[in-house]
Symmetry: C2
Subunit: 229 residues, 2 copies
C-alpha cells in the first residue's frame, strides 16, 4: 500500500516556511507520512495572485520580524535573518530540487534554512551556499554548476506552475489528500486532520463559499490587473 | 495613575477580528487594561499599503474559511459567515464609533460580530443591523440616522487615517505602549509582553531591520504604485 503523502511547498524567503519545516518533519514521522518537499518561487506566486509579500509592506516587515524573534526565543532556537532581505532565492531553491539534491534533499533544506534564518548568512551568495553544502560533505562545486543549467531552471519553474495550479498562494503550504493548509499556525489543525478528527463539514463549507460577493474594491481591481507573463 | 491602554483596531469584514475580539476582552480584564476599540476601514488600509485582502485571492478565501470553521468548532462557537462577503461594512463600523455607540460600544461590537460571523446575517443591511441594535434595547432608528451624518462619516475616516499613521496595515491590530501586534495568533505573545516577559531585544530588532534589501520585485512595484487618494 502506498504511504500517505504530505506535500510541503516552501521558499527560503519565508521565515514561516523555516519554522514549519522544523515541525513538519517530526509530524510526518509521527503519522507515517512521506514528506515531499517542493521548492517554489514565492515571488511568482505573489505575481500570479497579484499580492504583496510581507517584506513589501514596511510596518508588516517590522511586526513580523518581531513576531519571528519572539517565536524563535520561545521555541528555543535563534532568529538571525538573512543578511539581505528580500534577496534572490533562485540558486538556493534550485539546489533543493530532488534532481540536484538527491537523497540529501531534506538535510540540505534544513541546513540552508538554518544558515539563513538562524545564522544570518547571505542566502543569495553562492559562496555562502557552498559553505553550507560543504558542511554536509557534499560536492558544492558540482551542485552549483548544476543549478545553472536550463534543465534545472525549468524544473523550478515547473514546480511553481504546478503549485499555482493546485491553488498554492503562499508559503508554507501543506497539502494532504488534496486538502490545503497554509501557514505556520496550521500545526494543530493539520494534526487533528491526520488523526481523522477534522471538525470540518465539507457541505457546509461549499455552501458558505457559494454565498455572494456583495461588493468588490474598484481601486485595487483597476490598479492591479494580473500580469500577462 | 492612568490605566494602561490597549488599542484594538478592527473591521467587521475580518473573521480574525471577531475571533480576537472574543479573547481580547477577558485579556484586558485580566491585566487591568482599558480597551479602546477602533473601527477602521480595512479596504482603505489595503489601498494604502497596496495589498489584497484574503477574500480577494480565491484559494486563500477557501483555505481561510476552512481554517475559521475548524477554529470555531475547536473553540466551541459557531462559524456562519455574513450572507454576502465582501460587503459594505461602513454602516456597521460607523455604528461602532464611540460618539454613536456611547457606553454600549463594547456590547454593540460583540453583538454585530456575533450576528455576522456566527449567525450569517447580512452585515451590510441596515434592516439586519437594526435588529441587532434592537436586541440590545437600543434606539436603532436614532443610531442609524446618526451614521448618515457627515460628522460621523468623517470620524470613521479619521480613525482609519490615524491607524495608518501608526503603521496599522491589517486587522485585528493591537497596540500597547506603542508596541504593535497583528493577527489573531498574537494572544500568547501579547500575554507574555503584558506579563513583562517579552523576550524581544529591541537593539537586535533594529539591527535586523537595518539590513539591506538585496532585491525587489519589479513587476509588482511597477504595476501597483500606491494610489494618490
Amino acid at each position: 500500500m502506498k504511504r500517505r503523502q504530505l506535500d510541503f511547498y516552501f521558499d527560503y524567503l519565508s521565515p514561516y516556511a523555516y519554522f514549519s519545516w522544523r515541525w513538519v518533519q517530526p509530524l510526518c514521522e509521527k503519522y507515517g507520512l512521506t514528506l515531499n518537499a517542493h521548492p517554489v518561487v514565492f515571488g511568482k506566486l505573489l505575481d500570479h495572485w497579484g499580492q504583496l509579500g510581507p517584506a513589501e509592506v514596511p510596518p508588516k516587515k517590522t511586526a513580523l520580524y518581531k513576531y519571528c524573534y519572539r517565536y524563535a526565543q520561545l521555541n528555543g532556537f535563534d532568529f538571525d535573518p538573512p543578511r539581505n532581505h528580500p534577496y534572490n532565492p533562485l540558486p538556493a531553491l534550485r539546489l533543493s530540487l530532488p534532481s540536484v539534491a538527491g537523497d540529501a534533499q531534506h538535510p540540505i533544506i534544513s541546513a540552508i534554512f538554518e544558515a539563513g534564518w538562524s545564522r544570518g548568512i547571505d542566502l543569495a551568495s553562492e559562496e555562502d551556499l557552498a559553505k553550507v553544502l560543504d558542511s554536509l560533505g557534499l560536492n558544492s562545486t558540482k551542485m552549483l554548476r548544476a543549478v545553472k543549467t536550463d534543465d534545472v531552471k525549468n524544473q523550478l519553474q515547473q514546480e511553481t506552475t504546478q503549485a499555482i495550479a493546485q491553488g498554492v498562494f503562499g508559503v508554507p503550504t501543506f497539502i494532504v489528500d488534496d486538502e490545503l493548509f497554509w501557514g505556520n499556525d496550521q500545526q494543530e489543525h493539520l494534526e487533528i486532520y491526520l488523526q481523522g478528527n477534522d471538525p470540518l463539514n465539507p457541505a457546509k463549507v461549499d455552501e458558505m463559499l457559494a454565498r455572494h460577493r456583495g461588493i468588490d474594491r474598484k481601486t485595487f481591481v483597476q490598479r492591479c490587473k494580473p500580469s500577462k507573463n
